[in-house]
């Protein structure tokens, strides 16, 4: 992908040429162009393929965003799905009731409503980032494994709370009877049976625009003063703090960045055709899926997480194809076993901290990879 070019500026940097070899607007343009191609191809690929591509894209966003916390700062969050759920529920609440109030319907929307997804994703992301701040702040006094438990607990609490939410309203008349406050406290998002009829605004272009955005964000973050400070925390927290890195602040920020993009992924998921947002989406099962991708790809490797998300999604599709032979039930046992074997035989994951392109210029780096 075009972001690989970013890296070249890093090399030239070393040679003292200055960071100007590739103009900085190239990478964003590549992202937008790719999203446009996706938009144009939407009609061609067919329902099934496009559904697989949507799922894959959303998982890519989730995996890359989790890389910022688990890979860069070396903290271990296993409640990422909770942030997705927050993004999904908040943005879904907005678009569902917003459209119900203004249009009187949430289905059969025309292309002219497509833009609504962008503000929805931003608000969903911000809500999730706020939650990330809330969870991150107290957790930062905790060592890695406690943090894992707290994030897991957060997801479970959220799931329980979402199950207790009120019945969804299905007409604007019902809405006006309840009033705005009644819609908010407690939120009428359908409780245990799920939040139905969220407007289906997600399409390939939106998903892959966001995929590009999160990858670009993560790469530019990684190769900057910010990202290096985060990596330093992962490498050696005490040394990082002694070298002037405000560890607490960096961890909170990493948490918020990751949560933001998880919220975006959740928004896309909530508005995706054929999905039903349910409280279980906040639970541990989905979080573990994302963790598996990040660990498989290599903790800290953006390209690794992206690739792992694709591989895992395609593996899911493959197992689905073999479902008639009872393949689906082997999915999680296979992934779990894979996780253990990776930890025993290749603990740094596929790529470790490195990116794919690092391997093509290993000659540059005396001593090579690890």
């Amino acid at each position: 992908m075009g972001e690989g070019l970013e890296q070249l500026s890093h090399v030239s940097d070393r040679a003292g040429v200055g960071a100007g070899m590739i103009p900085r607007w190239v990478a964003p343009c590549v992202v937008v162009a790719f999203a446009f191609v996706m938009y144009a191809s939407g009609g061609f690929v067919g329902d099934y393929a496009s559904r697989v591509m949507l799922d894959t894209g959303i998982m890519m966003i989730a995996a890359v965003s989790l890389t910022i916390v688990n890979g860069f700062t070396g903290q271990f969050s296993i409640g990422h799905a909770a942030f997705m759920a927050i993004g999904g529920y908040v943005s879904g609440w907005l678009t569902y009731y917003g459209l119900l109030a203004t249009l009187g319907r949430t289905t059969d929307l025309g292309a002219e409503h497509g833009w609504l997804l962008l503000p929805a994703a931003i608000i969903g992301g911000l809500a999730a980032a706020g939650a990330g701040w809330l969870v991150g702040l107290p957790s930062l006094r905790l060592r890695g494994d406690y943090l894992a438990i707290v994030t897991l607990g957060f997801g479970e609490i959220l799931r329980v709370l979402l199950q207790q939410t009120d019945r969804q309203r299905f007409s604007s008349q019902e809405m006006s009877e309840v009033g705005l406050l009644g819609l908010i406290v407690p939120p009428d998002v359908g409780g245990a049976s799920g939040f139905e009829s969220i407007p289906k605004l997600t399409n390939l272009a939106w998903v892959y625009l966001m995929v590009g955005a999160v990858i670009l964000f993560a790469i530019r973050l990684k190769y900057s003063s910010y990202g290096r400070a985060m990596l330093a925390i992962r490498e050696d927290e005490i040394a990082a703090e002694s070298m002037g890195v405000n560890v607490t602040r960096m961890k909170v920020r990493a948490f918020m960045f990751a949560a933001f993009f998880a919220g975006v992924a959740g928004t896309l998921y909530a508005h995706q055709p054929g999905t039903l947002l349910r409280p279980a989406d906040a639970g541990y099962a989905r979080s573990f899926d994302i963790v598996i991708m990040v660990v498989m790809g290599g903790l800290g490797s953006i390209s690794g997480a992206t690739l792992a998300a694709i591989v895992v999604s395609l593996l899911n599709v493959g197992l689905l194809e073999l479902a008639d032979y009872g393949a689906m039930k082997w999915r999680m046992p296979i992934f779990a076993l894979l996780l253990i074997l990776i930890m025993i035989f290749r603990p740094q994951g596929l790529f470790g901290l490195r990116e794919i392109w690092d391997f093509f210029r290993s000659r540059d780096r005396t001593g090579g990879g690890r």
Binding site: A239, M243, L353
Partner: protein, 257 residues
């Protein structure tokens, strides 16, 4: 007016007084030594100075500003940097990245600038790279800039730690056993470099070292710790003759035998 002024510093772990009544005054540009037998509390003093541990009592002032209660990164910001006895580099990052992390607090930019790769961002990055390469040239490490820190030989890792501490642009640098594991030739070169750090970069240095030749060679003034307490302060020549110091060290040698 001294740069570092420590008075009656003390800390206890559980019931044990690890360091007590530690006082030290270093003038700007000084090159001081802190020695003592194993377990005397030298590294604990460093940890107290850099905020890793919070002192139970006493005061620490750097150029008149109190450091007690500050977090380690704030102390680094105030101009006090250190190396570690057991090397604590960032092993999976490159030599260059190790140095640039230490420059983090002197060259920040906004998140937007970082993500959009603003002109300011690029200028700072280029400037940091240039300064890092300059630092590397002190120890002839420029051609290792892109090596991963974990792949450096032991001696180079120690040298890189010193450079990393210097990259924070400190006024006072604390070196914790910089010569550990080096051969005599390397130690000579190190002694020379430490002098250069002081003269060329105008740094004040406080050094913990077990190698007496090195300490006596480079330090102007030495503080000796034993069981957490100062037992002697003075010029190298006087310290060498101090009976208390000899006893502390001989006692240790005798115990080891």
């Amino acid at each position: 007016m001294s740069l570092l002024e420590v008075k009656n510093l003390g800390i206890s772990f559980g019931g044990l007084r690890a360091v007590q009544d530690f006082s030290l005054s270093i003038p700007p540009g000084g090159l001081f030594g802190l020695i003592g037998p194993n377990g005397a509390g030298k590294t604990t003093v460093f940890n107290l100075l850099t905020g890793v541990y919070a002192p139970s009592d006493g005061t620490i002032e750097l150029a008149g500003r109190s450091l007690v209660g500050l977090r380690p990164f704030q102390i680094a910001e105030a101009g006090l940097s250190r190396t570690f006895q057991n090397i604590r580099l960032f092993p999976d990052l490159t030599v260059l990245e190790n140095l640039k992390i230490a420059m983090h607090l002197r060259g920040r930019h906004t998140l937007a600038g970082t993500i959009l790769r603003s002109g300011h961002f690029r200028a700072t990055e280029a400037d940091q790279t240039r300064r890092a390469m300059e630092l590397l040239s002190i120890f002839d490490l420029t051609d290792r800039a892109d090596a991963y820190a974990r792949n450096l030989p032991y001696g180079d890792q120690r040298r890189l730690e010193i450079l990393r501490a210097m990259a924070t642009q400190p006024r006072l640098i604390l070196l914790d056993e910089p010569a550990a594991g080096m051969n005599p030739a390397e130690k000579l070169a190190l002694a020379e470099s430490i002098r250069r750090i002081r003269t060329d970069f105008g740094l004040t240095v406080l050094l913990i070292e077990h190698d007496m030749t090195l300490v006596m060679d480079v330090c102007e003034r030495i503080t000796v710790l034993d069981y957490g307490q100062i037992i002697a302060v003075g010029e190298p020549a006087a310290i060498q003759k101090n009976p208390k110091v000899i006893e502390a060290y001989l006692g240790e040698v005798a115990n080891e035998r």
